[in-house]
């Protein structure tokens, strides 16, 4: 079990190292903040892992709460945007880090791009279990994904990252617009 934990920490550091390398030649304060958020997401999962009673699963609600408040603080938008979280489920440890990174990416996307000229700014994050599946339903009340993103033609790393991570967990991911941006991930 100790070897397992070492492996997990090692992998997490490997992820951070890869992200830093990815942007090392073109680093901006904004990119640095993004990487910092990834580190916070990973460390929030690790902290919750150590708190938990079991080694198999991890309770997800506090993880999403912590990530959300830290993202909101970072973007200085506390009073303006509401993030509504329903993630009162236990998630297998194996997928917890990657799931947290996906949620982090989705929230970051919304905070950066969704709420220009939008009055009611809301984000809904729902994680639920159905039989053996874990389903993440993500919505915001913003402007929706742009056409390039939906057609997989956007230049950014966001969609590639989300699809790559979903595939790593052998999950299905879909993006669409419905009074805002929506993303459903079925693991």
């Amino acid at each position: 079990m100790q070897k397992e934990q070492h492996h997990r920490v090692h992998n997490s550091l490997g992820i951070i190292s890869s992200l830093l390398n990815k942007y090392k030649d073109t680093i901006t304060p904004e990119k640095l903040a993004d990487i910092d958020n990834n580190i916070i997401a990973i460390s929030t999962v690790h902290r919750q892992l150590y708190k938990g009673d079991t080694l198999e699963t991890v309770y997800f609600q506090p993880i999403v709460e912590k990530m959300s408040s830290s993202l909101l603080a970072q973007y200085g938008l506390n009073h303006d945007i509401q993030i509504l979280i329903a993630a009162k489920v236990n998630v297998p440890q194996k997928i917890s880090t990657i799931l947290a990174l996906m949620i982090n990416e989705l929230i970051t996307n919304s905070l950066k791009y969704a709420f220009t000229n939008i009055d009611e700014k809301k984000i809904f994050v729902t994680v639920e279990t159905k039989k053996t599946n874990i389903i993440l339903t993500y919505k915001d009340s913003g402007v929706g994904y742009d056409a390039a993103f939906l057609k997989q033609k956007s230049e950014g790393f966001g969609r590639i990252l989300l699809e790559g991570l979903a595939n790593q967990l052998r999950g299905k991911i879909s993006f669409f617009n419905e009074n805002g941006a929506c993303c459903i991930i079925k693991l």
Binding site: H7, H10, N11, L13, G14, I15, S17, S18, L19, N21, K22, L101, I160, L161, G164, L165, N167, Q168
Partner: protein
């Protein structure tokens, strides 16, 4: 452009390496993250180099088994990169003669240097000939070959460079499990106890089956005549009806 297979289960890590190697124009990269997917890919596409993580998800020695597969079938250099560098892991890794072993997290400059040393400059990876079971005859007239008896248990012990192969023809209708390799130089044949399908599965993608009994090296085609024949160094190869569509 060279081809590189990255076997790594952590997407962000794999993607970063792919991006690095493609940006530096070292090679076009494919990512696989299980033993089975890697082996499936390797049996169709032959890369110039493989980067191998050892543990894939819960499969503790997947990378070692992939190395074993590569070693049995091909001459392709591979590099292990792993978070585990304990004595036991290194000892096992050594047995498979990797080009080198890099510990994770990867220091990119180290990885680039290791790849540059490990990857062959040009030329094609070689199949290990032990894979082609059967007896081989060289510079023997065709009529004589057809009369020869050979046992399936003999195997050739000669390396064949893909680049040198022009045409591969099966003579199953005359003599069971007989395959002839035609090379650039005239009168050079190989004969083996195998089938054309088995051979095709081990060739790089520029080899295409064009007829029930023929595989050609598409890099050597000098002409295609009216959909019926492919000409490769003065030899005409018929195109089978079933293969016409795929060739277009």
């Amino acid at each position: 452009m060279k081809k590189i297979l990255i076997v790594e289960d952590e997407f962000i890590i794999a993607y970063r390496i792919k991006e690095l190697l493609e940006k530096k124009e070292i090679g076009q990269c494919e990512i696989r993250d299980t033993y089975q997917e890697s082996v499936d890919w390797l049996s169709i596409e032959l890369p110039d180099l493989v980067l191998l993580d050892i543990r894939l998800f819960d499969d503790e020695d997947a990378g070692i088994r992939i190395a074993h597969y590569i070693q049995e079938h091909y001459h392709i250099p591979f590099i292990f990169f792993s978070g585990y560098s304990d004595e036991a892991t290194l000892k096992t890794a050594r047995l498979y003669k990797p080009a080198t072993f890099i510990t994770k997290p990867v220091i990119e400059e180290q990885l680039l240097a290791a790849i540059k040393i490990a990857m062959p400059d040009y030329g094609i990876c070689k199949i290990k000939t032990v894979f082609f079971k059967g007896k081989y005859f060289e510079n023997t007239p065709f009529e004589q070959l057809m009369k020869a008896h050979f046992s399936e248990y003999d195997f050739i012990n000669k390396e064949i460079k893909f680049d040198h192969i022009n045409i591969i023809q099966s003579f199953n209708h005359i003599k069971r499990n007989t395959i002839v390799f035609k090379f650039q130089q005239p009168h050079t044949f190989f004969i083996m106890g195998t089938t054309i399908e088995k051979i095709l599965a081990q060739l790089p993608s520029y080899f295409r089956q064009v007829h029930q009994s023929f595989i050609v090296n598409t890099q050597k085609i000098s002409a295609i005549r009216k959909d019926h024949y492919i000409t490769i160094t003065n030899e005409d190869v018929p195109i089978g009806n079933a293969f016409k569509k795929a060739l277009k």
